[in-house]
């Protein structure tokens, strides 16, 4: 057993570089930090900051085109430049990793039990029965339901949260001194995320392990971290205790980062814009949507009996976790999915059962921004063409005039006019998402459907994007169905909020009413699970939760 304050991981002058086409590009530069037993160090940064590469490089897990330098000591033993055999002795046993996406990080052709047993038997001389017993214990420890049977399940037979629990069980298999958790909760729903964070904290306390937490989510950091290291472009921007960083950030970047994080319940008031006698822009009545049986996949009802109305100039936030059917609603609202029963009206016109021709007419009044900016723009088309396509197909403009309109739209979303000829891969994620908005707004729609438009963006980019959206909305007065899993984001934008679970609308109402006084237990759980980027608040909430239990 390691003593409470022993330094488990000591990193000095540590750098990671990647070889690309004859040039070494640094991913992490000159890092210095120490993690002690029972302590959580969080490395925070946005995409491209090098936080992930640096954590992989600690145990030489990077591809061969990467090189590391400096010193990494685990329990005083140097890890960089040590023999492969020695490295293997430490991997898994002293230093265990938890990866972001357990679906791909677990081998799909072996049961989780096999993979845990393999880890155990790789480091300890124990028989298979014993190891299996230990695996079941571990699965019990990580609170996987029914560990006796789960041990023989394949990864694809478990849910996302269960998979991550199995992943953690595997990481804990050899009682490691150091746990490196690389975005352990990012792929999970908020409620599940809360459970996993809870689990990690408990385990850390129980096992007295050192934890290196890599994340972009300030809420998670606030919940778990003792110390924080902020990274940007490979450089360490600032280090300090959680309290220091959250409450007294020194570096402007840290301040900016914290400012960009949306905080639930701190948004400006959004008075209702809804006029009683106005015709709703979007009206869903008893909507049922079913994915039909395709080949061997049975039919699946994604949306059940849902009614929702959006009035002109109003932003309605549709919130739910994965599988709740919120995206399905959004796609059905512009006629991308067939309606099983019920009705969808846009400006009073029925979409359900509309012909292709009618649909294209109705669609001129709508626009949609998709979730993944990487996938929503055709990589083979210059973005100007993507933006101009709706205008061209609507026959509103072509040639010179079209180009001018496209440039105007680009300007509107604060992108240089010359970007018209660029390809999607040349733009950053935030820029691509702006292009997505420009395209959605090309026909000046009455209704904008935004399907998780910020979930792929870094917080600072997200903040600017949300500002832009608010400005545009204020200017153009379109109604908006804003679909998101992130209550804090919805909080900033929405006049009204609707909450979905398992295809059903569990609660809808004015923003403050939902956030401050939720009625439905699911909504309550959802709100309680949202991590708040403030260690003190988080601690209070945690204690409140514990008290409640």
């Amino acid at each position: 057993m390691t003593s409470a304050r022993e330094a488990i991981l000591e990193v000095e002058n540590y750098s990671v570089e990647f070889w690309v086409d004859g040039v070494w590009y640094p991913a992490a530069i000159d890092m210095n930090f120490t993690v002690n037993a029972g302590q959580v160090l969080a490395i925070v940064g946005e995409s491209g900051s090098g936080k992930s590469s640096s954590s992989m490089g600690l145990m030489s897990l990077l591809a061969t085109n990467a090189r590391t330098s400096g010193s990494v000591r685990v329990k005083g033993i140097e890890m960089l430049g040590t023999s492969k055999a020695n490295l293997r002795k430490y991997r898994g046993k002293e230093v265990a990793y938890i990866f972001q996406e357990p679906m791909t990080a677990l081998n799909p052709v072996y049961t989780i039990g096999f993979q845990i047993i393999e880890t155990i038997r790789n480091h300890f001389n124990v028989g298979p029965t014993e190891a299996r017993q230990r695996a079941i214990e571990l699965l019990t420890l990580v609170e996987l339901p029914d560990p006796e049977t789960s041990v023989d399940k394949f990864p694809h037979q478990l849910s996302g949260g269960q998979r991550q629990r199995a992943m953690i069980a595997q990481a804990l298999a050899c009682d490691p001194s150091l746990l490196i958790a690389d975005e352990p909760t990012t792929a999970l729903d908020v409620t599940v995320q809360a459970e996993i964070i809870e689990l990690m904290r408990n385990l850390k306390d129980k096992l007295n392990s050192a934890v290196l937490l890599i994340t972009h989510d300030m809420g998670v950091v606030a919940d778990l971290a003792d110390d924080i290291l902020v990274m940007k472009d490979g450089f360490t921007v600032e280090t300090g205790t959680a309290d220091q960083i959250f409450n007294r950030p020194q570096h402007p970047y840290t301040q900016q980062l914290l400012a960009a994080v949306p905080k639930l319940g701190f948004a400006q008031a959004r008075p209702s814009v809804h006029l009683d006698n106005a015709q709703p822009v979007l009206e869903l009545q008893n909507l049922v949507i079913e994915y039909p049986k395709r080949g061997r996949i049975p039919a699946f009802t994604a949306v059940k009996d849902l009614s929702l109305t959006i009035f002109p100039g109003e932003i309605v936030g549709l919130v739910g976790e994965s599988g709740s059917g919120k995206t399905t609603v959004g796609r059905a609202a512009i006629g991308l999915l067939p309606v099983k029963s019920g009705s969808i009206k846009i400006n009073g016109q029925e979409i359900a059962g509309a012909t292709q021709k009618e649909l294209s007419g109705i669609r001129r009044a709508t626009g949609i921004v998709f979730q993944d900016p990487a996938s929503s723009l055709n990589p083979r088309l210059p973005i100007g063409e993507s933006i101009g396509e709706p205008i061209l197909l609507a026959g509103l403009a072509k040639g010179e005039e079209l180009q001018r309109k496209v440039e105007d739209l680009l300007e509107q979303v604060e992108l240089p006019r010359a970007y018209r000829n660029r390809y999607p891969h040349e733009l950053s994620g935030g820029q691509r998402q702006r292009v997505g908005i420009a395209r959605a707004l090309a026909l000046t729609p009455d209704l904008l459907i935004a399907d998780e438009p910020t979930s792929a963006l870094d917080v600072s980019v997200q903040a600017r994007f949300l500002d832009l959206l608010l400005e545009l909305q204020a200017e153009l007065k379109f109604a908006c169905l804003f679909i998101s899993h992130d209550l804090a984001v919805v909080d900033i934008l929405a006049h009204r909020i609707a909450v979905m679970q398992n295809g059903q609308l569990v609660e809808a109402g004015m923003r403050d009413q939902i956030l401050k006084n939720p009625q439905d237990p699911y909504t309550q759980r959802l709100i309680a699970a949202v991590p708040v980027p403030d260690p003190a608040v988080q601690r209070a909430r945690r204690e409140a939760r514990l008290g409640r239990d």
Partner: protein, 512 residues
């Protein structure tokens, strides 16, 4: 599952119905079955023309004739299929039944060899991606991809049969060949290691000298004319293989498995004389080859049980594979011993490597080993030719597949768990990389019966390919359709088997 298979077979039958109809009519349109007769000077030509018109139903339009044929085939459901008669008067059923084993003999070995070698080389090149070895194997596999087999076959026959047989007159390797072969060995071994230039040169010269010495010893002992391994040779080779396999599968550290493997080697050495004595008896037959191998396998299982308490699975795997190799080398050693006798028999006259056919028709011996050796030697050239060609595909596919898998997250997980690189590759990467390859294998095996048309023609074998070709050139519809029915059925079935194998190997996919 059952209903799934039934449904698939139903669809397959419909497809076969359609394609057989098309093929029948295409072929019926493609020529004049009695062309020869039209310019024949036979006195009773008119009678013969009338005879064939009646016999081949030439007066019935082909689409209608097809249904006559189909009627016969449909007998398969009642257990009395009628494939009709070929134009040479023999039953199509009989001809196909005779041709299938021939083709299987021709292609099976080559296919298995191509799969084993191809996947091995593919895996090695993937692991050593962008090494000299990888580059040269890539080039070689592309070259093989581009080789016309009919062209290669002629070269093979000239240089590996005729010239080799000429060489056997002396059996002494000339100095130029000695140097060239040693250099080739050196280059290959040097290609396998990685490292700086000095290391490569050292390895090259070492292996060059070793190979040259080996060849000198071969010359000195006249090994080529009187080969043999002896009890010592068998022991050393099998021992090496056993240790190698146990290192790959469980790692050298696992002493228990190593001891079990060495027990198998010891058993092989102990069995050497009794088995050879038994095999020398005059009533030797093919089945007797099997018993010693089975006995060794039994020893292997027992040894694995005796030496290991836990993890018997891998241990048994190691020892059993070793024991199979041991049996194989006992047989190879015995074949080596037979070599000089074989060379000196009347039918061989020191020209052992044949250029055509399935067996030496002149061989009058009824000695099992002579006949066995003869059969094997006849397979040599076609097997080399076929292996050369299909080997390349497996190299490319397995390399690409493994590289793809090696980029997967779970490989990183496996490394992060502290698993050795061997375990990461063998257990985690290979297993996943093999899944897409099963489709390729299933189709290759299905292609066995229909595929080797050119090879059979070049090497004068009388298998399905020759039947097919003869049927086309002599307008023998019944024969053609018989062959077609078999091969296309297999092709469609391969599709099904590939899907079933896929779902067996990948737990994510379940057929319903």
């Amino acid at each position: 599952m059952f209903s799934y298979i039934a449904r698939r077979i139903g669809t397959a039958l419909l497809i076969l119905f359609g394609s057989s109809f098309i093929v029948y009519n295409l072929e019926a349109l493609s020529g004049d079955p009695i062309a020869e007769l039209r310019t024949s000077a036979a006195r009773n030509r008119d009678f013969l023309i009338a005879y064939y018109t009646r016999q081949l139903e030439l007066d019935v339009p082909p689409p209608l004739r097809y249904f006559h044929w189909l009627q016969g085939i449909a007998g398969i459901f009642t257990g009395h299929p009628n494939f009709g008669k070929a134009r040479d008067g023999l039953s199509v059923y009989g001809e196909i039944a005779a041709a299938i084993p021939v083709t299987v003999r021709l292609v099976l070995g080559a296919t298995i060899l191509a799969i084993l070698l191809g996947i091995t080389v593919g895996v090695i090149t993937a692991i050593r991606q962008y090494s000299r070895l990888d580059y040269s194997m890539t080039f070689i596999s592309f070259l093989m991809f581009s080789l016309p087999i009919f062209w290669v076959a002629v070269l093979l026959k000239q240089y590996m049969a005729i010239e080799f047989n000429n060489f056997l007159a002396s059996g002494q390797i000339g100095i130029e060949w000695l140097l060239i072969s040693s250099a080739v060995v050196g280059v290959i071994v040097a290609g396998l290691v990685s490292g700086d230039r000095r290391r490569v040169i050292t390895v090259f010269s070492g292996s060059f000298i070793a190979a040259a010495l080996m060849l000198l010893i071969v010359n000195w002992t006249n090994w080529i004319l009187n080969p043999g391994m002896g009890v010592l040779g068998v022991g050393v080779v099998v021992g090496g293989i056993g240790v190698g396999i146990s290192t790959i599968v469980v790692g050298f550290e696992n002493k228990r498995v190593l001891w079990a493997t060495l027990t198998v080697v010891a058993a092989t050495i102990a069995a050497y004389f009794p088995v050879n004595y038994w095999w020398s008896s005059s009533d030797m037959n093919a089945l007797n080859l099997l018993w010693p191998v089975l006995a060794l396998v039994a020893v292997a299982v027992a040894a694995a049980f005796a030496f290991t308490r836990v993890d018997r699975g891998p241990a048994i795997r190691v020892t059993v594979i070793t024991s199979v190799f041991a049996g194989l080398f006992l047989i190879i050693d015995r074949l080596f011993q037979t070599w000089s006798i074989y060379l000196n028999t009347d039918g061989i006259n020191m020209r052992p490597i044949p250029t055509f056919g399935e067996a030496n028709v002149r061989l009058s011996s009824d000695n099992f080993w002579i006949l066995f050796e003869d059969g094997l030697l006849h397979v040599v050239l076609p097997t080399i030719a076929l292996t050369l060609i299909s080997f390349a595909g497996y190299v490319r596919y397995s390399r690409a597949s493994l590289l793809e898998v090696m980029n997967m997250d779970y490989i990183r997980t496996a490394r992060a768990k502290g698993l050795s690189e061997r375990t990461v590759i063998v257990r985690h990467a290979l297993r996943n990389a093999m899944i897409p390859l099963t489709t390729l294998m299933a189709f290759d095996f299905a292609g066995i019966l229909g595929g080797a048309i050119i090879t059979e023609s070049v090497f004068g074998w009388h298998g399905m390919g020759t039947l097919f070709r003869n049927a086309i050139s002599s307008q023998d519809l019944n024969l053609l359709m018989g062959v077609f029915a078999i091969t296309s059925f297999l092709a469609v079935m391969a599709n099904l088997v590939a899907d079933l194998m896929y779902s067996a190997l990948d737990p994510r996919i379940r057929v319903r």
